[in-house]
């Protein structure tokens, strides 16, 4: 990986900072989960942090996002506060979903982020419709719809990509091929050689990318964004990566071969960026350690604050089932 000529030190550090926030928040969530102090499950994006980081870095302020399970960096990249993420995981009344939904199911349309539902693929047509609406309103919005390798097998994936293709809706369908859908390896998920081949069948452009190289991915996405913003059409962007933890923290992922995991450990997106920054003399190791420590301090403060905030009042149970006015 090379820091391209078109990235400043500040930009590169911002990418690292986003990934560090996600990694350190998730490490905290894992500890809390094993202490039994988190409701429901914990689903992590270890190893996939570059994808949300690179795509949000290349996006514009009016763009819309439908992040999936392992995309905390989409939220962070759009400015979601670590405090809100802890509120969400702790089910606080102050959180983005106000305790109505938990863990990874959160969003904030003020930042252009749809809150995912559990049904994989179901958010792809939603963000497509959102982009169509904004374009009607005269904005140059494009969409980012994230899905895993497993999610590409769903009917919603097919319907949404074909729908966007036929109607020329500028959405980047970001496939995060992390090689396992829960315990199911990609060899049992699809028969094409590479998921990018699917693009041919939809009559759209397909791009294969390294999902762990945040700098290269950012450049690829920036190019696609520039093209489809002015000449609207969907693109299939397949990012190769590996899910570095279980489906959730309840899952030890013992079905992932140790040698595969070890090979991808060396390709950790945080590690790769750090190595590049140091090698290219954009930053010193001490500087990066200090950044990491500062992130950790912010996370500690956010967690402590969320912990002290109230849970939802049961008397509000029925509030908001319907919109009024």
């Amino acid at each position: 990986m090379k820091a391209g000529a078109n990235i400043t030190k500040a930009e590169a550090l911002a990418l690292l900072r986003t990934m560090l926030f996600a990694r350190r928040i998730e490490e905290r969530m894992i500890r809390l989960y094993h202490q039994g102090s988190i409701f429901g499950g914990v689903y992590c994006g270890f190893g996939q942090e570059a994808i949300g980081t690179a795509t949000t870095a290349a996006a514009g302020p009016d763009d819309l996002f439908a992040p999936c399970i392992r995309d905390m960096t989409v939220h962070l990249g759009r400015g979601t506060l670590p405090l809100d993420i802890f509120r969400q995981f702790l089910g606080r009344a102050t959180g983005p979903m106000r305790g109505r939904d938990g863990n990874i199911h959160y969003g904030d349309l003020r930042r252009g982020i749809y809150a995912m539902i559990s049904h994989l693929g179901a958010m792809l047509p939603v963000v497509t419709g959102g982009v169509m609406a904004r374009r009607r309103q005269g904005r140059d919005t494009i969409g980012f719809a994230y899905i895993g390798d497993g999610g590409t097998s769903t009917g919603d994936f097919h319907e949404a990509v074909n729908f966007a293709a036929v109607l020329d809706v500028p959405v980047i369908f970001v496939v995060e091929n992390n090689q396992f859908a829960y315990s199911t390896h990609i060899s049992s998920q699809f028969r094409c050689q590479h998921l990018v081949e699917r693009a041919v069948g939809y009559g759209i452009q397909g791009v294969a990318a390294d999902g762990n190289d945040v700098l290269a991915l950012r450049d690829i996405v920036a190019g696609l964004v520039a093209e489809i913003r002015t000449r609207p059409r969907p693109v299939l962007l397949v990012c190769e990566t590996l899910r570095m933890r279980g489906h959730g923290e309840h899952d030890d992922a013992s079905y992932v071969p140790a040698e595969l995991r070890a090979a991808w450990e060396l390709r950790c997106p945080l590690l790769l960026l750090r190595q590049t920054l140091v090698a290219d003399k954009l930053a010193t190791a001490a500087e990066l350690d200090a950044l990491d420590a500062a992130v950790q301090v912010e996370i500690n403060a956010a967690y402590e604050q969320a912990l002290g905030e109230p849970p939802p009042n049961p008397a509000t149970l029925l509030e908001g089932v319907y919109a009024t006015g």
């Binding site: 109505r100 749809y114 809150a115 049904h119 419709g129 169509m132 109607l167 089932v321």
Partner: protein, 327 residues
């Protein structure tokens, strides 16, 4: 041209036309609804009048249609989408139940969208073009369910549904499209959702019903009257969710005998919900057990002889009414 009565179908078309005229945030899309005007011609002429930007076709994609409608609704549009037959909505029902129905509760973001769904049988449509699925939609939190029986109501409720800030399932019984006509008022506006209407007064019994069965019930009530002078009230529920329970209770209080009629299946059908409301709130007013007349728990059959045996009609309703009145 001399003024003519307006069909149920034309009434809905007029409502859609007015929505497109007066509300720039309204868009219509679905399969074959553009230049072709839809499988039943409800949207005939609308793409020609308002352009392919506002009224457009999509691939066969119930999931993408419902999902995209939800996305548009979150961005300030008011999409009114057509699913060609309600039967086909089942391939995408997770978008209604899980996506649209939960959105406001989860996120505080409103989803003002309408799913227009032609439904119902009586014309040899067979198992997959005749279904009545209102009970399923009514079971889902966050949705509203409208089921008009008359052209004037359909027109006004379509405006009300499209201007409501929630996802609304608008059920259009296909039998009504061309069989039911009436004079429509020149001045009209959106009707509130959740209001039933007594469409025939009476004091001896009440039929609680909706959709095509309102008209069958009116015929049965007329026959009761002509044969033995009995006065049977018919209450057209018009909206199933929210349900006008006060109107139901008032009707029971005025008649003390209840027959519930619907075209859909019996077990878990919407009649069971109505019967429960009657039992919970007006048990002390009843002079006879609550009676349900529904389709049997059987797929909708194709052959006309079988479908006639399957579907409630005025004769069957009359028979049930006589039993209720004689109890």
């Amino acid at each position: 041209m001399p003024p003519a009565e307006t069909t149920f179908l034309e009434a809905i078309r007029q409502a859609l036309q007015r929505l497109l005229r007066e509300h720039p945030d309204v868009v219509l899309f679905g399969q074959d609804i553009g230049a072709f005007g839809g499988a039943f011609k409800v949207t005939a002429g609308l793409q020609q009048e308002f352009g392919a930007d506002r009224v457009f076709d999509t691939p066969i994609s119930e999931s993408a249609i419902f999902g995209a409608a939800l996305g548009m609704a979150t961005m300030g549009l008011r999409p009114v989408v057509e699913v060609q037959f309600v039967d086909f909505a089942m391939t995408a029902v997770h978008h209604l139940l899980n996506n649209a129905g939960t959105l406001h509760y989860r996120t505080g973001v409103a989803a003002p969208l309408v799913v227009r769904a032609p439904c119902g049988g009586g014309f040899a449509g067979g198992p997959f073009h005749s279904e009545e699925l209102e009970a399923l939609f009514c079971h889902m939190p966050g949705l509203k369910v409208v089921y008009p029986a008359f052209p004037a109501d359909a027109r006004a409720l379509m405006l009300g549904a499209a201007l409501d800030p929630n996802p609304v399932i608008f059920l259009e019984n296909k039998y009504l499209y061309r069989h039911v006509k009436e004079w429509l008022p020149a001045v009209w506006g959106p009707a509130p959702l959740g209001s039933a209407r007594v469409c025939r007064p009476g004091r001896d019994a009440v039929v609680l019903t909706y959709g095509a069965m309102v008209h069958e019930s009116l015929r049965a009530a007329e026959r009761v009257h002509s044969e033995d002078g009995g006065e049977v009230m018919v209450l057209d529920l018009r909206t199933l969710k929210p349900l006008d329970t006060d109107a139901i209770c008032a009707a029971v209080a005025a008649t003390n005998r209840v027959l519930i009629v619907h075209e859909s299946w019996r077990t878990g059908g919407f009649g069971a919900e109505i019967a429960a409301v009657v039992a919970e709130r007006t048990f002390h007013l009843l002079d006879a057990p609550v009676r349900r007349l529904t389709a049997p728990d059987c797929p909708v059959p194709f052959a006309p002889e079988l479908e006639k045996a399957y579907r409630p009609n005025a004769d069957k309703i009359h028979e049930a009414l006589v039993e209720v009145l004689e109890y």
